[in-house]
Symmetry: C2
Subunit: 228 residues, 2 copies
DNA sequence: CGAATTCTTGCACAGCGTGCAACAAGATGT
DNA sequence: ACATCTTGTTGCACGCTGTGCAAGAATTCG
């Protein structure tokens, strides 16, 4: 019994008008279920804290059986990484739309900074901070970045062709993601009590740190953004 | 009943003459037990493959109860990261011995390349490759690198003083570790059937990739090492 | 509508991770 | 050497995890 399914028609109409891709009922139900589970997990994590709830509770809240939960995610923490996955997937997609003749690092920087503007960032900060006190969640998030790294390397290989060695590609992408991760961590660490535009603050950090990476690290430039 | 403890005397003598730090029996037993567990886990992983054995099997092989295993490690995969932890700890220690007036990146590069020469690398490659087919082990390893990142940031902060922002530090260390990780992955991927000196091959990769990072990535240099 | 496909669900089961209390081994002081 | 305190080990119990399997329900297809 899908709790989600009650809204199936409405959602289909909305999604269809958006994508103009008439997706079947099966596929749509799976998308909805996945969403419902992820939302339930995030809600729970935000309310009672990460690691303080069971898979059963997520399943109940999502209107799904325990077994079905495990058909979609391997663990409770995995359900909390859909936001991270989504962000990185979107960044990759945006990157794919960049002009091929543009300098590589300009494309990379723009891909990430522009992605920041589209994504709802409200939950990202909280999720990031949770990882500080929850090793399992941290691992899940690290895995999420790792999976994205593989996809991005593939996308980059398509752009650079066979010129670049595998080592160069993985080192480059790994560094870019490490810097982005550092920027998001730093951004998430500052308390977001309605001070300025959060999205812009993140964008500035990403820009700063990726520029630093492009030009080579050097101790003289200690970075424009500093924290107490 | 420690199986390890049978050798307690001999080990103590050896260790004491090495370190000149007379460590108590308690502490020494813990070190031995930890070693025994880790060795048992790695042996099992190498023989039957990762994820194909239980904690009980590790405990039995280490001559320790199941409960004691969990006093030392949180999971079977955690016991497989002691090598990675050791490598990164050693690198940090070597880095700490570098002259303060040396250019930062020279110290970093030398710290890693020299660490490669001291560490027994036989198991590192195998452990790295295992992670490809075992998500849990991959997560554990990623976590290991993450923990090291924190320690290294701290060590670097001590060297750079308060000049460097937290964002700069984490981005720098994260990139360095990502590059090193990429080098080790690339190195581990090639089959090590007695072709040349494995240690040197790894060292070359680390040197290449960290130099690239220091000078800034640029698509013209596609990296000296290429794979089929 | 009937058949084929695919998803959900309940069940069962081995294994995980931890709190707890009893016990053993090492450390400490006289 | 002995009594005592501290610290580490062990077995037990218990709830939760993750997965294979088969039955049933929903969707798709002809």
């Amino acid at each position: 019994m899908h709790a989600v399914q009650e809204f199936a028609y409405a959602v289909i109409v909305l999604e269809t008008t958006d994508d103009a891709v008439p997706v079947g009922r099966r596929e749509q139900n799976k998308i909805d279920t996945r969403r419902a589970i992820a939302d339930a997990a995030i809600d729970l994590a935000l309310s009672v804290g990460p690691g303080s709830f069971t898979v059963d509770q997520i399943a109940v809240r999502a209107g799904v059986s325990r077994r079905t939960f495990f058909n979609y995610f391997h663990s409770a923490e995995d359900a909390l990484t859909v936001r991270t996955d989504g962000f990185l997937d979107l960044a990759l997609e945006v990157f794919g739309r960049m002009p091929q003749d543009e300098p590589l690092f300009d494309s990379i920087i723009r891909a990430f900074t522009e992605t920041t503007r589209m994504e709802g960032l409200s939950q990202h900060g909280a999720l990031f901070r949770m990882a500080d006190s929850n090793p399992d969640l941290l691992r899940a998030q690290l895995h999420s970045w790792e999976r994205a790294e593989v996809r991005i390397v593939e996308g980059l290989r398509r752009r650079l062709g066979a010129d670049a060695s595998e080592l160069y590609l993985t080192a480059l992408v790994g560094s870019v993601l490490s810097c982005t991760k550092a920027a998001m961590r730093d951004w998430a660490a500052v308390s977001h009590d309605s001070t300025g535009n959060p999205g812009q603050e993140l964008e500035e950090r990403i820009l700063a740190v990726l520029t630093m990476l492009r030009d080579g690290f050097s101790p003289r430039t200690t970075g424009p953004v500093s924290r107490a």
